[in-house]
């Protein structure tokens, strides 16, 4: 079985197992990647039917699975266009530094190598340079030191930064208001990026569906929530088929569930087979970002204090076990319990404890000791490999 078949089987399984929401999104991903307008037409017809189903229509699971299977067959038959994007670095920043003329803040020595299908997370406390770094990468700010190189495809004139910017997308934390309906704005954007007539409608509708905006097509800026405004901005960015997507605090206005969905969507979009995307996103949602990122850059006072990749985690064992623990037990009680595991340090920030152990101790040892001591535990997490440990307390 090739990768396309595997993927279609995976989607079919989502629906078969009742995971229709994720199945629906993956189905749209697969359809979008075909770049085939006839597939788009059939997919959108399915979306109409599916929306009716969610709106209270009656259909049993077998009808849904039948329709999905039929659509997957169409997607499978479609010729999958290879846009020729090689898995080389699309953005390479070396020794990037920026000092503002006013104020004492300075960003320094940042190296970023972004590849297609890669997500880099930028984390750090407020005012530590996340937005500055994103704006540098997008060319909104001028770096004082270092270089930024873009290696993008489908750029008419690679030496023109204007042309390069047609393939970059930057979504700031606060977007500007727009006028008219959501759909008109997306169609307008599509038309400017070469999608005309029916193709424009189909492409825009597909992106709109993928971003979960179908129900808001006629809504104006004032009528949609902050979360959907973010989705709109994302849809607008995706319409132009960018190769690099820069997101500043995309999770800031989202509820917990929406955060997970958006991050999952970003992961799926980044790993698109035909249109892989390099994504850099900044966020305060440390654990969520770590889950989807191949690399995390922790910025503290403008300096990249830590750069971590998943591959490194697998290959390199941390030198210390650090557990984050939320409990009503006192520090003394914890000290007593974890004496057996030779706890090195216990710090408390008012909400959670950070417990530091030697590298020979594993997280299961800690859980075992906690269970034996019957301490009241609300939450715990192994943060040994997480940039969480670099936050104060």
């Amino acid at each position: 079985m090739n990768s396309t078949t595997n993927r279609l089987t995976e989607i079919n399984n989502y629906f078969a197992n009742g995971d229709t929401h994720v199945g629906y999104r993956r189905l749209l991903d697969a359809a979008i990647e075909t770049q085939d307008m006839s597939v788009y037409e059939k997919t959108l017809a399915f979306c109409d039917w599916y929306d009716g189903l969610n709106a209270g229509g009656n259909a049993d699971a077998s009808v849904l699975n039948e329709k999905v299977a039929s659509l997957l067959e169409v997607i499978g038959r479609a010729q999958h266009v290879d846009l020729g994007r090689k898995y080389e670095s699309v953005l390479r920043a070396e020794n990037l530094g920026k000092t503002f003329s006013h104020g004492s803040f300075s960003l320094s020595s940042v190296d970023i190598h972004l590849h297609p299908a890669q997500i880099i997370g930028l984390v750090g406390e407020n005012g530590n340079g996340k937005t500055t770094l994103l704006r540098l990468l997008y060319g909104e700010l001028k770096q004082d030191t270092g270089t930024i190189q873009y290696h993008l495809h489908n750029v008419p004139n690679p030496s023109s930064f204007y042309d390069i910017k047609t393939r970059l997308a930057f979504i700031p934390q606060r977007s500007n208001p727009w006028y008219g309906s959501l759909m008109d704005n997306l169609l307008f954007t599509s038309a400017h990026y070469g999608f005309k007539g029916k193709e424009n409608h189909l492409w825009t509708e597909m992106i709109c569906a993928r971003m979960g905006l179908r129900a808001f097509r006629t809504f104006t800026w004032g009528r949609i929530s902050s979360g959907y405004k973010m989705r709109f901005e994302l849809a607008k960015a995706l319409i132009k088929k960018p190769e690099v997507l820069l997101l500043d605090e995309p999770l800031a206005n989202l509820d917990v569930l929406a955060q997970q969905v958006i991050l999952e969507d970003l992961r799926f979009l980044a790993h698109s087979k035909q249109m892989p995307l390099g994504i850099i996103l900044s966020s305060q949602q440390l654990y969520e970002v770590e889950k989807v990122s191949e690399q995390v850059i922790f910025l503290k006072q403008g300096k990249p204090r830590y750069q971590q990749t998943n591959t490194k985690i697998e290959n390199q064992l941390p030198t210390q076990l650090i557990m984050e623990l939320e409990t009503t037990a006192s520090r003394e009680a914890l000290k007593e319990v974890f004496e057996t595991l030779a706890v090195q340090n216990i710090s408390f920030n008012g909400g959670v404890y950070l417990l530091y152990f030697g590298s020979e101790i594993s997280s299961s040892d800690v859980i075992r000791v906690l269970g034996e001591a019957k301490l009241p535990v609300k939450y715990f997490r192994d943060i040994s490999a997480s940039s969480r440990r670099f936050f104060d307390a």
Binding site: F100, S101, R135, G139, E140, L141, K142, F161, Y162, K165, T166, N176, W178, Y179, G180, D184, N185, L187, F188, T189, S190, A191, H192, Y193, G194, F195, K196, G197, K198, N200, H201, K236, K240
Partner: protein, 505 residues
């Protein structure tokens, strides 16, 4: 239908959708049509004599109303147009997007500020429909010859009048007493000649009249003065009273057609030609119904001004080429207004609000400084040099800043300032060259001691550029429009795109 059109524009022609060009042009054309109809309906045969030209038909009221309509349309358009801005929202792929946008803006503004031109056109076409060119020529021919038999001024019939040799012609002043020996000019040669002529029996003969009331030399069929004078003389010599009266009757019909006020008896007029053997005029008719000197009503009169006004208006309406030439200056001025407004709007579209506001405020300050320089300067040309220097300075700074990528706001401001000055750069350059040319000519003619006037050929030979510019100022002003248009559409938008990608700090 509207929904389909809206959808089609949005998905296929986003620029047309964004600029609302279809809707605003449809509205503007509707206004043009209304103004055209109003202009067409504003005139009738009876009212032609109230206007001396198409410009006077247009009048101040129409222009004011047209201005208010333009304002209403442009404001409404801007409300919709400024809702979307692709250039600021994302990086447009189409290389000529801004060029097209500028062209559309210019067209919309030009069409929306020229409603009164449609009024003028409507009036012009109405006049042409009321009196055809053939009829105009026929009427002018009648009026010209009939005019000789309706004395409104003794001076027109004086013997020493000449319509062919202006150098030897002597004008008779009705209010002057040529027999007054105490007057200092009594012994002047011309007065002696006039006195000698006054002594002749035919000093004020009908045959002496040679003034052409309506000149339509450009039209086929028009009877030139030499021809009608010969015809008139033949009628007088052959005592053809009936022919004269018939002609005068036709004249009255035309006067009635144009509602020209008159009180004339054609039989009397015809007989008066033969009142004495020398065919001298024996009665002078009045030009209006009211005698303003003593506020009494005249019994015999014809308002010839009304006649001339009506026929001049018809003449102007038929002379398309001449009218276009005469009216071209106004059209060029309108195009300048449109292009200046378009540039202003383009800057608002392309630059941030901060840059635009600072550049506007800065421009006001520059204008004040400019005015102070102009007022304090002894030579008006130094103001021109100051203007040119500013333009060059701003252009140089713009290019320098863009190259060094320093100061996005400052770059935007100088870019704006340079384009605000652009429309008048060529004009000022021409004026400076003409001034230089004139001062050189003056120098050669008066300051080298020879005091000899340079001939046209000599001027051309010595100062070919200055001579050519001096003789083609109108053409240069028109060509400048094209230059400003192309410079803004291609070069300025190109620079603006470069500015758009400039980092902030």
């Amino acid at each position: 239908m509207f929904k389909n059109l809206y959808d089609r524009l949005l998905t296929n022609y986003p620029l047309l959708w964004n600029t609302r060009v279809i809707w605003v042009l449809a509205l503007a054309f509707a206004f043009h049509l209304l103004f055209f109809i109003s202009g067409f309906g504003s005139l009738s045969l009876k009212t032609l004599q109230e206007y001396s030209s198409l410009d006077s038909v247009q009048g101040g009221d129409v222009i004011t109303f047209s201005f208010l309509c333009s304002l209403a349309i442009l404001i409404t358009w801007l409300v919709f147009f400024l809702r979307n801005n692709a250039f600021k929202s994302f990086f447009i792929v189409d290389r000529f997007h801004l060029v097209k946008e500028f062209v559309i803006i210019f067209i919309i503004i030009l069409i929306s500020i020229t409603f009164f031109e449609s009024y003028r056109l409507g009036a012009k076409i109405k006049v042409k429909s009321l009196t055809s060119q053939r009829q105009l020529v026929r009427e002018a021919n009648i009026v010209n010859i009939a005019r000789a038999f309706i004395p409104l001024s003794k001076a027109d019939y004086f013997k020493l009048n000449s319509c062919y040799n202006y150098q030897t012609a002597l004008h008779y002043n009705e209010g002057f007493d040529y027999s007054d020996t105490s007057h200092y000019s009594y012994a002047e040669t011309n007065n002696i000649k006039i006195r000698a002529a006054l002594a002749l029996p035919d000093a004020f003969s009908y045959k002496n009249f040679c003034r052409t009331a309506i000149n339509l030399d450009e039209y086929p069929g028009f009877v030139k003065d030499s021809d009608w004078i010969r015809r008139r003389d033949a009628w007088i010599d052959n005592r053809q009273i009936d022919s004269i009266q018939r002609l005068l009757d036709q004249f009255i019909v035309i006067a009635d057609r144009y509602n020209v006020s008159h009180d004339l008896n054609t039989a009397t007029l015809a007989q008066l030609v033969f009142a004495d053997s020398s065919h001298s005029i024996t009665r002078v008719y009045r030009n209006s119904a009211m005698d303003y000197t003593d506020a009494t009503e005249n019994s015999e009169y014809i308002n010839l001004y009304q006649f001339e006004r009506a026929l001049d208006l018809v003449d102007e309406s038929h002379l398309d080429n001449q009218d276009t030439r005469d009216h071209l200056g106004t059209l060029v001025a309108e195009a300048y207004v449109a292009i200046c407004l378009s540039i202003l709007l383009l800057c608002f579209r392309l630059y941030t609000k901060k840059v635009f506001l600072i550049s506007i405020l800065g421009s006001i300050i520059w204008a004040i400084i400019f005015s102070l320089v102009a007022m304090s300067s002894r030579s008006p040309m130094s103001t021109g040099w100051f203007y040119l220097s500013l333009f060059i300075l701003f252009l140089f700074l713009s290019l320098l800043f863009l190259r060094s990528q320093a100061g996005r706001t400052a770059t935007g401001i100088v870019l704006n300032w340079h384009i605000y000055l652009l429309p008048f750069v060529v004009m000022i350059l021409c004026l400076l060259i003409i001034d230089y040319y004139d001062s050189n000519i003056y120098e050669l003619q008066y300051n080298n001691g020879t005091n000899i006037m340079l001939s046209d050929a000599e001027r051309r030979e010595r100062f070919p550029i200055g001579y050519w510019i001096n003789n083609n100022v109108d053409l240069l002003f028109r060509l400048n429009l094209l230059f400003v248009f192309l410079y803004t559409a291609f070069f300025f938008t190109h620079l603006s795109k470069k500015w758009h990608i400039m980092p902030e700090e």
